[in-house]
């Protein structure tokens, strides 16, 4: 029988990351979709960096930045009692950065796809920007929100390099399924490695299939 902790940890990490990204990603995507600020391309490029950058680069810089041996790491520890390397909190932080484009990009294109007259109509009716966001814009980009959430979730499950760099391999703390597979292979436990792999394979396939079915309108009745 395999140890279930790495799998549970993986899904806990993915769930926490997705929720945090929802809170962060929606305002960021809103800003990117509607701003006329000159800095927009810079921010867009930064958000998309994790798509092309090797995860080890991100992990390496985070490791350097959060190390308790430098001043920023010490400051975090002294003021917030927070150590971001080799801890679950650190993994969450890194995953948020790493999966940011997967949340922001679908939502941003969702916002851009809404006819501007809907927003204007709400403003003319005296509704604030916040009311318009929650009552008009977000309900009309449900497929984009779903895509963003599910891709972030799935992408976090697939994380390896960043976790290895900043999280290490602490059972119950930072040893997620992808690391566990690597571990088992190194120990020549191919059967356990295979079990973890199959579980991840089936779950991620199911999640992605569900998204494409829903957004493709095949299951329109259940998603309205």
């Amino acid at each position: 029988m395999i140890d279930w902790t790495p799998l549970l940890l993986t899904f806990k990490l993915a769930a926490v990351t997705t929720m945090a990204l929802g809170v962060l990603g929606i305002p960021l995507a809103y800003w990117l979709a509607y701003t006329k600020n000159r800095m927009k391309p810079v921010v867009e490029a930064l958000v998309s960096m994790p798509l092309v950058l090797p995860p080890t680069v991100l992990g390496f810089y985070l490791l350097v930045a959060f190390s308790p041996s430098n001043s920023f790491g010490q400051w975090l520890e002294r003021w917030f009692n927070l150590r971001l390397i080799f801890s679950f909190e650190g993994l969450v932080f890194a995953s948020i950065l790493y999966s940011l484009p997967f949340m922001v990009q679908p939502i941003q294109s969702g916002f851009s796809g809404i006819s501007s007259s809907l927003q204007e109509a709400a403003y003319v009716l005296g509704k604030s920007k916040l009311t318009t966001l929650f009552k008009v814009l977000l309900p009309n980009i449900k497929p984009s929100l779903l895509t963003g959430a599910v891709l972030s979730f799935a992408h976090t499950i697939g994380e390896f390099g960043v976790v290895l760099m900043i999280g290490g391999n602490i059972p119950g703390q930072t040893k997620v399924a992808s690391i566990a597979i690597y571990d088992e292979v190194e120990a020549l436990n191919y059967t356990s490695a295979n079990t973890y792999s199959i579980i991840l394979f089936v779950i991620t396939f199911t999640i992605l299939l569900a998204v494409y079915l829903l957004n493709g309108g095949y299951l329109k009745r259940s998603w309205k």
Binding site: S115, S117, E120, Y123, L125, G126, K127, K135, N140
Partner: protein, 297 residues
């Protein structure tokens, strides 16, 4: 009284246009803005709603300053309380017809308003439908009802009927007119359609390249000279036939085909497809060609 004096640079398909408006509109009037695409008609309405900010100028509505670039005043669209019907209706797809109206309700406003509007606009059977399942005319009625929920003092209509068929157009024109009279609502309409303008508006302005080049009562606006007919209609010439000394002109007025007697001098400048004004002066109808060649759709 609404006083508008604004300047704004616009970029249209024909290049840069400088929008310079300087006009006053009387309370309770029905003003139509007429002009080619790109002349600045929609921008004019958007400036009034506050959705578009002019470079400079001022707008005063019933004694209240909405815009004064010198004093740095620019009321947000939320605070202007204008009723605005968008060209694409802008109904919220995530709400039913009724929810669209309820969304427009101000805090603490009486919910009876909605019921009243649903009845006036004949939306009763559609109230629980999503906007996507409505026809053009039904969408238009919903959009109009929604714009009226807050009882605005100013109603702006951006080519509201251009996408509708003739029958629905006539019906909605009637409705707009009825609302305008009942609520004594100052109404601004953007329209391309001469018969519609003649039917609805009390005044017309012609907007050319961002400037008001002509202003007047609709009849004088579209005819060469003042006509003192007892009643008048506008229509389209379908056919002109000669019968001995007189001519029979077949016209389409609204949805009716009408035959009118005309003499040679009247028929000379007419051809099928022309828009004409039919007025009855005593017993003989007069036909006069409408001057609408300035506008092409």
């Amino acid at each position: 009284m609404i006083e508008i004096s604004v300047h704004k640079k616009l970029w249209s398909s024909t290049g840069e246009v400088s929008l310079d408006l300087d006009l006053t509109i009387k309370e309770g009037s029905f003003l139509t803005i007429y002009g080619k695409s790109g002349a600045g008609k929609t921008s004019f309405l958007r400036i009034l709603t506050g959705l578009l900010k002019p470079e400079e100028g001022h707008i005063r509505v019933y004694g209240k300053t909405w815009l004064d670039s010198q004093r740095g005043i620019n009321l947000s669209p939320q605070k202007r309380g204008v009723g605005f019907v968008f060209q694409d209706y802008a109904l919220f797809p995530n709400m039913t017809v009724e929810e669209n109206l309820f969304f427009a309700l101000k805090k603490g406003q009486d919910r009876k308003t909605i019921q009243e509007l649903i009845e006036v606009m004949e939306l009763g059977e559609l109230r629980h439908l999503p906007p996507q399942s409505l026809s053009g005319g039904q969408k238009q009625r919903t959009a109009l009802a929604r714009a009226l929920v807050q009882r605005p003092q100013l109603l702006l209509l951006d080519e509201p009927l251009s996408a509708l068929d003739a029958g629905m157009r006539t019906k909605l024109q009637q409705l707009i007119l009825q609302i305008h009279r009942e609520y004594h609502l100052t109404t601004l309409l953007v329209s391309h359609d001469a018969p519609e303008i003649l039917k609805l508006s009390s005044e017309v302005i012609l907007l050319e390249e961002g400037k008001v080049t002509k202003r007047g009562a609709p009849i004088e606006f579209f005819t060469h000279k003042r006509v003192s007919g007892k009643f008048q209609f506008t229509g389209e010439v379908l056919k002109i036939e000669r019968q001995d000394f007189i001519f029979i002109v077949t016209l389409l007025i609204g949805q009716d085909v009408v035959r009118v007697v005309a003499d040679e001098s009247e028929v000379r400048e007419l051809a099928p497809g022309d828009k004409v004004l039919v007025a009855s002066k005593a017993f003989n109808p007069i036909l006069g060609k409408l001057k609408i060649e300035t506008v092409s759709r």
